[in-house]
Structure formats: C-alpha cells, structure tokens
Symmetry: C2
Subunit: 370 residues, 2 copies
C-alpha cells in the first residue's frame, strides 16, 4: 500500500535499498561476523587524533555543528591547494551525490554510468526521475570510451565514473581520464567519484583544474581515513555548481563530531601512509589466498580485491552466503558478468586468517550445492 | 552566475539559507560569544551516558552506522509504545522534513504554514517547487483554525504546525490539535513538529494514534536531549508513509556516534527531568530580566522565551545586534509582527547573568540609534 499523498514520482519508486547493512545480516543470523571485510571500511581504523577529536567534540554535542563546516572546508581546500569556493563538505559521497542529482536531474533527463557500477548513484537518479544508460564493463574495467559515446548519443547531463573503480577495483590512468574530459559532450558533467583515490598510485592520478566546469570530483573520509561511521565527504568543482549545493543541502546535517574527526584525520598524514601500506599488504595476501584456492584475483587500486570465482553469479552468491555462515562478511557485484566475483575488503592479519580458513570450505559448500 | 546544467527548478532557487550559524557570526566579529543562547540548543548538555556512548562509538568510527538504526528505532518505538513500523530515524527534523517534502510535494503543490514559522520547512518546500500559503499568527499564537481554512481553500497537501511553537514559544492544547486533525481536508497531511514537546506540560499534549493517516509527527534529540550536534530526529506516522522514507533517504547518513548517543539519551529519564527543571527555572529568570527592563516576555512551553521589545522589527534587530556586540548570541523572528520580539534560549545561571547585564545596555544602544 502506498500513501495516496506521495507524488507520482515517489509513488513509482521501488522499495529496494542500495545496500543491506552487515548489522541486518547479523540480526538475521543472530550472531556477529568474525571478519567484517565486506563494506570496504578501513579495519585499520581512523587516526588516534581523529578519535580523540571526536571524543572531545562529544562533550560539546549540545551545540549544532557549524553549518558552513568552515574550518574543515578551509583545511580541505588548503590540502588540495584550491580556493575554498571550490569545495563543499557533506554527509558522505552518498549524500553529496544525492544533492548533485537533485540539482541537475529532472524527470526524463539522462545519465550515463557503468552496468554494475555504484548502485547508490543509480538510486539517486531513479529517485529524481532520471533515466540511466548503463555501459557494460570492458574486461572488468569501466569502458571509458563507451561512456563518452553513450553520453553523446543520449545527451546525458551526468556521466558517472568511479576511479579507482568500485566494485572491480581497477583504475584508469591520468591520460585516459583527461581524454574523457576532452571528449565529454557539451552540456554534460563528468562525475568523478574518487572515494578510493588514496590507495591508488599517486603518479597515475589525473591533475584536474578545480575550475574546469566539465568535472566535479567527490572524495570521502570513509575509506582511507577510516571514518565511515562519521559520514563526511566533499565535492571539488567549478564554483557556480559548488555554490548551488547551498540551495538544497541540509545545512546543519554534518555533525560536530564528524567535522572535528575529519579535520584531525586530514592532518595526520603518517596514519594515512600507515593505512595505505597495510592495505597494500592485505591486498597481496587476499590475492595469495585466492591463488591458493585456484581463483583469480583482479588487480586493485583500492582497499579491496575482487576475486573471480571462475563460474557464474549464482555460484559466487553461494560463496558469499557460505562465507557468511562461517562468520565472514563480504559482498559481490550485482550484475553479470561482474557477479562471477566476490569482493573482499583489506583486513588485518586476523581478519584474513579467518578468510583464509573459511574460503576453501565456502567454495566446497558452493560447489556441492545442487 | 548559475551552472547551465541545473534543472529549471534548481536554477530558480534563491541563494538564501534558513539560518546563519553562530560560528559564522563569530568569524565576522573575530571573537566568540560569551553566552550562546540563540539557537535553542540545550546549554545543559546531553546526559553523561550519552557523551560516554558517543566517545565509545568514536573508537568504532571506521564502521558505517547501521543503515536501519535498528536498535535506536526499536527503542524509540518501545518508548512511545508503538510498532517500529511507525518510526523512521533521520538526520534531524530538518533532514526528515526535507524527505517528507520530497515524497509529497511536486512543482505547484500547495502547503500551508504560519507566516513567520520555521523557515527550514519553507526552504524545503521551495526547494521542491511547492507553493506556500502563510497564515498570520493570531495574538502571537499559530492560528489553528486559520490553517485549516486555508488548507481547504488551497487544496494543500501538507499543513505544518510546530507545537509547541517556534519562534514564539506558545502552544495549543490537545483539544485544539485534535480539532485540527478532525477538520483537516481530505488528502492533506498534518505535519506536527514536536521538537520542543518535552518542555511542554504533559497533560496538554495530544494523544495521537500513530496509525492515523492524517498526521505525521517529528521529534528530535537536538533540544531537550542536548544532542543538536549529533543530528538525530525521528518521524512517527502511518506505516505506508513512514516506509516511503526508505525510498529516498541517505541510508548510511546517520552516524555511528549519533545512534549510540541518542540511544543512551533516550534511556536517561533522570537527566531529561533535570534539564526540563533547569529550563523552567531559566525561562522564569529570562521573563524576570525582561520585566526588569520594562519588556514583556511571552508565555513559553519550550526552551526559549520570546521577549516583546515593544517596538518594531528594526528596533528588535538593533537589540539583537547590540547584544551580539556584547557577546550574547540571540535570534529573532523573521517577519512582522513577530519580529518585534527577540528570542532568548534557556541558559545556565552564568549565561543569564551575562544576558541580564547586556540587555539594558543593548536596549540603550538600540534606542539611541538614528
């Protein structure tokens, strides 16, 4: 039953949600996961100074957070060497993507994305009545050229690209991204989701002029900075577009603890290096575990590794379920042919010990299924 | 300059924001306020257990918060004696109001509210292209009958009412609210913002069936629970409408710290009683300070007192500015005739000492102005 007061658009929306949280799965199983390596969270935690800053801010939680997130916004701008007018902070990339879609997409407007790419972008586009053109991956990588061709063909207003990519883990180098920008159709905007960028080789990252009105970039404190539970992301882009976020955002939405934690996290470059090193080590071990089990790990520039389970989506789904039964939380891509893979987040040694023990048993279970 | 890719609606929106934060004012003045009693925050702070819970949760900030806020939602439902299907938790009432407006209001749809009422509701309605009918206050109270008449006349989908009221502080009793519900035109929804309800006399509060499909209520942890900086609010209403929030909300938007803090705050009834007592004491003192200065305090069922400064909006604006210069942050209603008042939040003894000292000087300054 839907409420008769919903708008026609709201009434038409599906009840599906982009992701089921691990807590929901734990409630269904009635026990906790032993290894939580499925949501690309940073098991290595936030910087100690970020925890301390949030704990200190908790005492002041009676005050609203600064609606302009002035200190954090200016620190981010300084970090990137850009004018603060190019930066807006918000409730994670998810929240900011929703605002961008709201600002630019009305009923019938087209966007282009990759088939099997980040579902939350699609969730927002559908939520505002937009139409989605999905370009299949090419050899497990986003088809950069295909995205641009489809954008020209459809007259898309937004072209979404996660680089490095989620859920497959690969990336395109600076030259390819620059070519995408140069071939972007007039009137379109490249939405560059750089959630995992800190894990990628610095030399391969594009240098993008923040004033370039063809591109908006998104970054987050949820991944390398280990603050997924604080929900802080930011957008960098041309000033008129960035300023428009103020017209629609939840001005007091960023918590006081989140602002303090992100500010401290940004300042601790040593912790970030430590995390990046640990993640690289974990990726190598996940790849080795995959090989040990006769599976093929995909190259990754992120904090996770997609592992090709060598069969179809139904098989991979059984592997994910069997791993879950053994206390290991992992996820998998949603559509073929990507869904022959499972996606394993970089864990601590102990997490990966659990995974290494569970994987052969999970594969056995999956293979034994009718 | 606006970005050419904005939707016509987004391009038409004003750059105005509902509220300027006290931090922004402090940056302009280049010094901090001595008494922060302008945003109806709870200077008495959150429960010690809520602070401790947030500090503990900060250690786990690498994990996303539960997207279903399961524990908190169930605790709220139990607290109100309702089925959890009637409850959704979100990023403050502001965030939830935005989602409700998105779900129900499209371009050209009407809403009815009070002239000079909560500007963030109007911000959301304008943001989704809705049209706003504003009913003037009647003797400094919301015109309950007038709202219903105008709703019938305009075919409004939403009728907004803050009870107790912000910014004037008064309230309508249970009988009046029930009459509003009974006379609500078919197809309309009463949006009952109960942000300040914990400060109101229990006996005067309406008993509303959560399944009544004519009403949605909003409550918050930002006021009596002292967690404005954590941004947690919730909606109680008919299940089909409540379920629809899942179609459009930022599922991982509620932080881990916020969920933990709100859960602990809800459990500490003793702290809540303490705050309510302190607020009543502070209201009485604010009223006394007003009388001492020849001004008329308005009756309040909230954590603030509107003080009639006895002249026009320009005069009250000068009083607010002069108080600011003296280190006292207060706000005032935005439109005539309400804007003859200033709005002072319940403060600690020390805050109100500062206010008591500053007010006569601020009035002098305001009266001396050309």
């Amino acid at each position: 039953m839907t409420d008769p007061r919903l708008t026609p658009l709201a009434a038409s929306l599906p009840d599906l949600v982009p992701f089921v949280g691990p807590e929901t799965l734990e409630r269904r199983m009635d026990r906790a996961f032993t290894a939580r390596i499925g949501a690309n969270e940073s098991v290595f935690g936030p910087a100690p100074g970020a925890i301390a800053a949030m704990q200190e801010a908790a005492r002041d939680a009676w005050m609203y957070g600064d609606p302009e997130a002035h200190e954090l916004r200016h620190a981010i701008a300084a970090h990137h060497g850009v004018d603060p007018g190019h930066v807006r902070v918000g409730e994670g990339i998810d929240g900011l993507l929703g605002l961008l879609v709201r600002l630019t997409i009305g009923p019938g407007d087209w966007v282009v994305t990759s088939k099997g790419g980040y579902p939350t972008f699609d969730f927002h586009v559908t939520g505002f009545g937009g139409r989605i053109e999905q370009v299949p991956y090419e050899a497990d990588r986003v088809d950069a050229k295909g995205l641009m061709e489809r954008a020209a063909w459809s007259g898309a207003k937004l072209v979404y690209l996660a680089n490095p990519d989620n859920p497959m883990g690969g990336m395109h180098d600076a030259t390819t991204i620059q070519e995408m920008i140069e071939t972007l159709p007039d009137g379109a905007l490249l939405v560059l989701d750089e959630a995992y960028v800190e894990f990628a080789p610095e030399a391969e990252l594009p240098r993008i002029d923040p004033a370039d009105d063809r591109v908006i970039r998104f970054r987050t404190f949820s991944k390398a900075h280990g603050l997924a539970g604080a929900r802080v992301g930011y957008a960098i882009g041309p000033k008129p577009l960035i300023a428009a976020f103020d017209r629609v955002r939840n001005h007091f939405g960023l918590t006081r603890m989140a602002q303090a934690g992100a500010l401290a996290a940004l300042a601790d470059r040593a912790h970030l290096s430590h995390v990046v090193t640990e993640v690289a080590r974990a990726r190598a071990r996940i790849a080795a575990i995959a090989h040990d089990n006769g599976l093929a790990p995909l190259p990754s520039a992120t904090n996770f590794v997609a592992i090709d389970c060598g069969a179809d989506g139904a098989f991979a789904k059984r592997v994910v379920a069997a791993l879950g039964d053994l206390g290991v939380f992992v996820r998998m891509p949603g559509v073929a042919p990507l869904n022959r893979c499972i996606r394993v987040t970089a864990g601590r040694e102990a997490d990966l010990d659990v995974f290494a023990q569970a994987l052969p048993r999970a594969l056995e279970t999956a293979r034994a299924a009718p």
